[in-house]
Point group: C2
Chain length 146, copies 2
Amino acid sequence: MQMFSKACEYGIKAAIYIAVNSSENKRVSPKEISEKIDSPQAFTAKILQALVRHNIIISVRGAYGGFEIDKTKIETTKLSQIVYAIDGDSIYNGCGLGLHTCDENHPCPVHDKFKLVREELRDMLDNTTLERLALEIKSGVSFLKT
Amino acid sequence: MQMFSKACEYGIKAAIYIAVNSSENKRVSPKEISEKIDSPQAFTAKILQALVRHNIIISVRGAYGGFEIDKTKIETTKLSQIVYAIDGDSIYNGCGLGLHTCDENHPCPVHDKFKLVREELRDMLDNTTLERLALEIKSGVSFLKT
DNA sequence: TATAAATAGGATAGATTTGTCCGAAATAAA
DNA sequence: TTTATTTCGGACAAATCTATCCTATTTATA
C-alpha cells in the first residue's frame, strides 16, 4: 500500500537534489546524490539513467562530469513527469481492484470512490514543480532524508 | 504505483463475495470464491485465512464447511479493516518518499501535498462498508471480475 | 467409528522489485 | 596521447510478492 515504488521515491528525491545543486551551478555525482538522499548508490544510478532518457535531467560523462538539470527545466518539470519516467502511467489507468476492464459502464466495487483519490493524486503530481520542491529544500522547510 | 497489493485486491473482492452470499445464508468455498472474483485459488485461500485471524470473516472447517460473515458484521465492517488485515497499517504511517521520520517538524518534500491524498484515501476506506459494496454487487451496478 | 469433504498451514516455486558488481565508453586535463 | 575520472549498461544477486502443491486437521454424516 505504499504509493510510490522505491525506485520512484529515489528518483523524486534525486531529481530534487540535482535541482537544488543545478540552481547553484553545481554538477553532482550518483555517489553524492545517494549519500544526500539516503539511497543505494548503484540502484540510484540506474534510476538517474531513466531520468536522463526521459530528458528530465542531463548527464555529462567523463572527468568532471555528473548530473544536472537545465535551469529552465527546473521551473517547468512536474512531479508527474518524474513519476511517469520511472513508474510509467500506472497511476492513470489500471483498476483499483485489478479488473481487466473497469469504467463507468462496468465499474469495480470501489471505482467511483477511488476516482476521487486518484484525481487528487493526479492533481497533486501535475501541480507540483521541481522548482517549488527545490526551494523548500533550500529554505530548510523540508528534508530529503532521515 | 498500484494502490493495493494483489493480496489486498483479492481480499477485498473475496470479502464482498462472501458478504453477498452470507446475506442469503450461503456459505462459500475458496474454489467458488476464486472463480467468481477471478483470483488464484490457493493464494486466495491464504488471504482468507488472514481475514479469519482478524475476525473479519468466519471459517467453518470440515464437511459442508466454508466461509461466511456474521450478518451484523456485514453492516459494520469497513474497507479499512480489510486493508489493514492484509496490508497492515502502511497507509496511515509511512512517508511517501520513504523517510524514517516524516512529520510536521521534519517533513519530506511532498509531505503536506501528500497528506490530502492520504486523507482522501483514508476517509474513503473508513466510510465504505462491506454492506454497501455487497448491495452494489447484488443490484448489478458494480462487478467483481472481467 | 469410518468416511468424505472441507479449511489450515508448511514447503516450495515463480515473478517482480530492489540492489550490486564490473567492464565499456566517454571526456577533461596533463 | 595517455591517464584519471565519470556515466552507461549488462549480468547477476538478494529480497519480496505472488502463486502452487501437498499433507494435516477438523467436522458432518452414514
